[in-house]
Assembly symmetry: C2
Homo-oligomer: 430 residues x 2
């Protein structure tokens, strides 16, 4: 049996520093848990001259990734360098030389996860990626182990802290989008280029990872319908509130006999839904399982130490497997064929906010467009006319297909201009 386990850390940014910190501070606990010493043997950095926060021995640093990947004494590669191609290549090389891999890289796992997991299976190595989704929340593990016995039919997540922070501030403090984004950047929640967050790409990647796991199917990034925050118009948040909803960027993944649908977009989320009270930078994942019913996991979605907690939990799992010589024994191959739903099969209620000329017969003209598309309406509300002879009309539909919704929006063109539209989410359950 081994009496020491050596780690090669690729990257010493926010998460890498957190990993080094936890491994040092909790060393005694870890040694007790595992019965062996776990230590960082080498660390890949970009620039040897840069000042380091961590108290690591300066001899561990290298700027050459092969120094680490080719070192036969290193058991576990921890990839926290970010980026896609370089990280993918490093993970592949590590697996091919029989090393266990822990990664926090959602971009790589969303775009190349399926092939990397197959490679891990082939090479009989562990590839753990708990930290790639929802920072400190043990959601991957819960889907793989805790709910292993159940059949999941729906998974909804607030999995991007930046957009959730912005929406919380806009709602609770009447902040403008710009001010809230500036504050999020200042607090370190948002990247200097926040487009991946606000456009929904970051959340979409996480939903690819979660959906693939929850449904044991190879979901791809192209399968996710994505809308960003920019479609939210002034006044939408108040309107939502008036109808009992909160606007949240929600990743939603559902499966029934027609197939799978995955979306990331700002939705009108029923205030009674558990996710509606997840505020600020926090993340949460809501799961509906046939047997278990409703469950939710809540926690920090990012940050150095929370994310590092997940990385180190993965390291511990890899260590346990190493000591028992049972790495790479989980089969990752998808159980089910990938069947995505067509727009004709995605049903939801919708909220439409229109600007029309304030004239006699307008309402009947509008509602006839809906009835022509076989869409029944739950409510229609006309806002007081404005000075400019225009009026705002709000329509809430009963459940219609996404195709009906798109057709209606297109057909409204001659009659009204569509200020904004949202899918309504979270009404069926508590």
């Amino acid at each position: 049996m081994k009496n020491e386990i050596s780690i090669g850390l690729l990257g010493l940014g926010t998460v890498g520093n957190g990993v080094a910190t936890i491994l040092q501070q909790h060393q005694q606990d870890l040694t007790y848990k595992l019965g062996v010493q776990v230590s960082i043997k080498k660390v890949l950095i970009k620039d040897k001259n840069k000042a380091r926060l961590s108290s690591l021995d300066p001899n561990v640093f290298t700027t050459d990734v092969w120094d680490i990947l080719d070192d036969p004494s290193i058991d576990i590669i921890v990839e926290v360098m970010g980026g896609i191609e370089g990280a993918k290549h490093a993970i592949e090389s590590a697996l091919r030389s029989g090393k266990q891999v822990v990664t926090a890289n959602k971009d790589v796992m969303a775009e190349h996860g399926h092939e990397l997991l197959k490679l891990a299976d082939l090479e009989k190595c562990d590839l753990f990626y708990e930290a790639s989704v929802a920072g400190g929340i043990p959601i991957i593990r819960t889907l793989e182990d805790g709910l292993a016995s159940d059949r999941i039919s729906s998974l909804m997540g607030i999995v991007n802290g930046t957009t959730n922070y912005i929406l919380t501030k806009m709602k609770q403090e009447n902040m403008s989008y710009e001010t809230a984004l500036a504050e999020a950047t200042l607090l370190g929640y948002a990247e200097s280029d926040p487009s991946a967050d606000v456009d929904g790409l970051d959340a979409a990647r996480k939903m690819v990872i979660l959906s693939s796991l929850a449904f044991s199917t190879e979901v791809h990034l192209d399968d996710v319908l994505v809308r960003g925050m920019k479609d939210i118009q002034a006044g939408d948040l108040e309107l939502a509130e008036g109808f009992g909803y909160t606007i949240k960027m929600v990743g939603s993944s559902k499966k029934d006999e027609d197939g799978i649908e995955v979306t990331v977009e700002p939705v009108f989320l029923a205030n009674s839904h558990l996710l509606a009270s997840v505020n600020n930078e926090f993340n949460a994942v809501y799961i509906y399982g046939d047997a278990v019913g409703e469950t939710m996991l809540y926690g920090p979605g990012a940050g150095s130490l929370p994310t590092a907690t997940s990385v180190v939990s993965d390291i511990i799992a890899a260590c346990r497997n190493l000591l028992l010589e049972v790495n790479g024994k989980r089969v990752h191959a998808a159980q089910h064929e990938r069947v995505m739903k067509s727009d004709n099969r995605r049903y939801s209620k919708y909220f439409h906010r229109l600007l029309v000329k304030d004239e006699v017969g307008m309402l009947s003209k509008l509602t006839s467009i809906y009835s022509n598309h076989m869409a029944s309406l739950q409510s229609v509300m006309q806002h007081p006319a404005k000075n400019d002879g225009m009026a705002e009309i709000i329509l809430l539909t009963h459940k219609i297909s996404r195709q009906q919704h798109l057709d209606i929006i297109e057909n409204l063109e001659d009659t009204a201009s569509v200020i904004s539209h949202y899918r309504i989410e979270g009404e069926e359950s508590v």
Copy 2:
């Protein structure tokens, strides 16, 4: 390698039926996940003539526990029979004959968990007990694996569905305690004898299990300070609301350099705390880890299928270990000595509600009792005098020790009668 795994099910009540149902309905998924067939070989029942809900082969039933425990072809014993001594004996025998054990029995695990886990270690067998706490919520797994890398300093739980249901109805629908309890019984949340729920014993047992795990210490049932719901007086819920609190039965477990404190009691929980919005029969466990910060797991705390989900997830884990021949490799021995805090070291804010004679100088008489005990007050409020010449006075203290609180309550005796008193909880964090 085995090509079939056989289960002996001890008990076919609510949970046992759920386990049989899930194993049957999800058989295809399980076979895919594990690569082998898992089947129920024998089931212990009390009465062979009783009609069965499940579609199990009648030949599997037996009324003799030794029929199952002595059957060498049975790999995993699933103990869902309830009770303490019989269940303990069955678990011991199973472990001694080298079988893996899955139990949903919180009573056994709270009272004999430490010795049973030691026996499992000794016999190199698995003893899994996810379903013993908070039904469908994978909390044991999260503490053991997901947060394995962290150091937990506080764990708070709403871990009894019955009392949470009653308190929710009392608050939201102004129901009396009796009506709410009757409704909970009707809905099957409360037992015919609800005393273990309403007196806090059920929650205390769960907190013993969670605290032992979270702090890697042998916490005992005697260590838990327990107060039941009966101490809640008419008007307390409204008063709590007026001050921004919700009365919840909270299990609370904290650790710092002075030691561990574990309580189960109705507390004034800050409305801003995550647990304050956990309503009806739902359970939730809030964890504060040094690195991860705040996390919460939410879900159904009881019920046939939710609880069975946890049992079957444990069965899957035991099967995986069987197939890899690595059962019983987790060390359960406590890492830390058990140091419980004295009342002098348990600090909290308190709410005191007193009935006094409405006379000049009363307030100063009262407040001097507090200052004599070095307790500083956050606020003092006198309710309008009643016709009978009596007045109600509400006092909220700053942080004081439990000893100070007890001394003050005792010293108030000559001056006031204490209508009710509560610890204030959940103000420090979101």
